[in-house]
């Protein structure tokens, strides 16, 4: 029994490290893309269109993962696509987290009319199909990185608000908050000093999950051709293009898809791993 338990723990640790490793790799790729990309991600060459990846016949040197139907290098585009993906993950994830958690904390701790308003808003948001909502928002705001980040924040703040509100309410009902208030701290002071540290582990877990979601949302928006400008390489844009030529050049779809898959999986496994680390706090 004890042995089996130890093994499970170790495997969780391994998953945590694999995920963190992959994400670090991506971050480096995003930072260094202009220098490590073998080709110019935008350079088209119709004579080199739909080259297969390196292990197949009929390749050109330097085009490791083949080219798309316009002759652009798939590997270079994936590397450059990581820049958009990572930016969206970090910035949109963090902003969503901060805003959502703040609203949830306010609602859960102050209760009263603040809670009423925020809860109603959450209900309304839950009645929207999120993908449609984000597409609608992008159509309104116009394409671009900032627009995508804004859309993600507007749509996903409820994920944090819901969970944090419930947790803050549970924590607020506990004795130590009451005793802190008796000790003479104001409401806001109590909220920040006593409740926040207790919901923090939960927030961190949700944050990593949200980063994965942000990457997906960006890919979906690129897929319906509403992301940033059509020139900039994004994984979603590559996937959209690969989807149309999947019977002629599967690699245009497969490589960005694998990258996206691993990235999303890593973010969520990182979240799960952290959740286990925080286990005593989360029960």
């Amino acid at each position: 029994m004890a042995d089996g338990r130890g093994q499970v723990r170790r495997r969780l640790g391994l998953r945590l490290w694999l995920s963190a490793g992959w994400l670090t790799l991506l971050l480096l790729a995003a930072l260094l893309a202009p220098w490590i990309s073998p080709k110019d991600p935008l350079a088209q060459d119709l004579f080199l269109a739909r080259l297969p990846p390196f292990w197949m016949d009929g390749t050109e040197p330097g085009y490791w993962l083949g080219t798309d139907s316009l002759g652009r290098d798939v590997l270079s585009r994936i590397l450059h696509g990581a820049r958009v993906a990572m930016t969206v993950a970090l910035v949109a994830g963090t902003l969503t987290c901060v805003i959502g958690a703040a609203l949830g904390l306010l609602a859960g701790f102050l209760r009263g009319w603040v809670d009423m308003v925020i809860s109603r808003l959450i209900d309304i948001w839950m009645a929207f199909p999120p993908v449609l909502f984000s597409i609608l928002l992008i159509a309104v705001i116009g394409p671009g990185l900032g627009a995508i980040i804004l859309a993600i924040v507007v749509i996903d703040w409820t994920r944090f608000a819901r969970v944090v509100r419930a947790e803050a309410m549970a924590q607020g009902a506990m004795d130590y908050v009451a005793s802190a208030q008796v000790a003479g701290r104001g409401r806001t002071g109590t909220m920040l000093v006593e409740v926040l540290p207790n919901v923090l582990p939960l927030i961190v877990v949700l944050l990593t999950l949200e980063m994965g979601i942000a990457v997906i949302v960006e890919a979906i928006l690129s897929f319906v051709n509403l992301s940033i400008s059509t020139d900039d390489p994004t994984w979603g844009g590559m996937i959209a293009e690969g989807r149309t030529s999947v019977h002629q050049a599967w690699w245009v779809l497969v490589f960005p898809l694998i990258t996206l898959f691993l990235t999303v999986l890593s973010f969520s496994q990182l979240g799960e791993g952290l959740k286990d680390r925080f286990d005593p706090v989360l029960r």
Binding site: D123, I124, V140, I220, F223, L260
Partner: protein, 336 residues
């Protein structure tokens, strides 16, 4: 009396939620840059033409007036006229609804079967390696959203081993003799296995893509719930009666474990329906979601409004049904 009050309260909050959705869509889409009227007129149309059409669609009035007019129409069952197709929105939307409903329900059925099977097998084999393997697969399925599963399925069963269709709802060359848009149901009713199979082989991959994450959630929640139930005395008592482990799990534990899992699955089902938007796009499936994306791209304001409201109605409706099902299945509430 208490029940009556609960129902009234529930209907009121639902009304508030739906109005909120209506107001938000209405305001948001009227900030859209680009004049939808100018887009629908042929080049060379005069400013006068534009103004006339704008007035026709009521777009020259203030947002507040427009909303009142629209809301008044909605209460009478008139959702306006689509700008791109110039047909009544209600008809367009209801024409596509069956496709999305069939897809969602099929996905729900698949998810319930797979998830339920995983939970039961995991419980039956608890403590073994197989249980651990099921848990890992569950975790994977849970971490990756429907959009990516859809792409994976396209590659696997559309390209690598092309056994299913990856786009459309039915083979275009087939002339459907149907009177409704519930193709799947009607093909069954009319006893046309050939058509039925064509429709199913179009629906299967998108339905599976939607189903995989939900199946994982059902598997996880139901298994947890089963685990708690299996410790209870009546389960032990049933074992001493001479019943097999499988019987004990499915007959004694399962009915009581389903109930706590139900509410959560209800919420997740609304997420699944929301997922049809992108999955329909991915598989070029002619449902509501696909229509919605086209409507956004074409700036078809009345159509967007209609579709979003319909989704909101479906979502709140599903939640209502889940709550009712919960009450109906719980003997404690049934005979309270």
């Amino acid at each position: 009396m208490q029940l009556f009050r609960a129902v009234i309260l529930r209907l009121l909050t639902t009304a508030v939620t739906l109005s909120g959705v209506a107001v938000i869509v209405f305001v948001v889409i009227r900030v859209v840059p680009g004049n939808p009227i100018a887009m629908m007129l042929p080049p060379g149309a005069t400013d006068e033409d534009v103004a006339r059409l704008t007035a026709l669609y009521g777009l020259d009035k203030s947002i507040f007036r427009q909303f009142l007019i629209w809301a008044g129409g909605v209460l009478q069952g008139d959702f306006g006229t689509s700008i791109t197709t110039r047909q009544p929105v209600l008809g367009l939307v209801l024409g596509r609804l069956p496709a999305t409903l069939e897809l969602s329900v099929m996905a729900l059925v698949i998810a319930t079967v797979i998830g339920g099977f995983a939970a039961l097998t995991g419980t039956r084999l608890r403590g073994t390696r197989s249980e651990a393997a099921i848990d890992v697969a569950n975790g994977m399925a849970l971490s990756v959203p429907d959009f990516l599963w859809g792409l994976v399925l396209i590659l696997l069963f559309g390209v690598l081993w092309p056994v299913f269709h990856i786009s459309g709802r039915v083979t275009p060359s087939i002339d459907l003799p149907f009177t409704t848009n519930f193709y799947l149901i009607e093909s069954l009713v009319r006893l046309r296995p050939d058509l039925w199979w064509d429709i199913v082989s179009h629906m299967l991959l998108p339905a599976l893509a939607l189903a995989i994450p939900l199946a994982a959630i059902i598997g996880q929640v139901l298994k947890q719930s089963l685990k708690e139930t299996m410790h209870l005395d009546y389960v032990t008592l049933s074992r001493t009666k001479g019943y097999s482990e499988t019987h004990v799990i499915t007959r004694e534990a399962l009915p009581n474990a389903v109930l706590p899992a139900l509410t959560l699955v209800g919420v997740q089902f609304t997420f699944l329906i929301g997922g049809t938007v992108i999955i329909e796009r991915l598989f070029s499936y002619e449902g509501l979601g696909n229509m919605a994306i086209d409507a956004v791209i074409n700036r078809d304001l009345p159509l967007i409004q209609g579709i979003v409201i319909l989704f909101a109605v479906i979502f709140t409706g599903v939640n209502l049904i889940v709550d009712l099902a919960y009450a109906a299945l719980n003997p404690r509430l049934r005979h309270g």
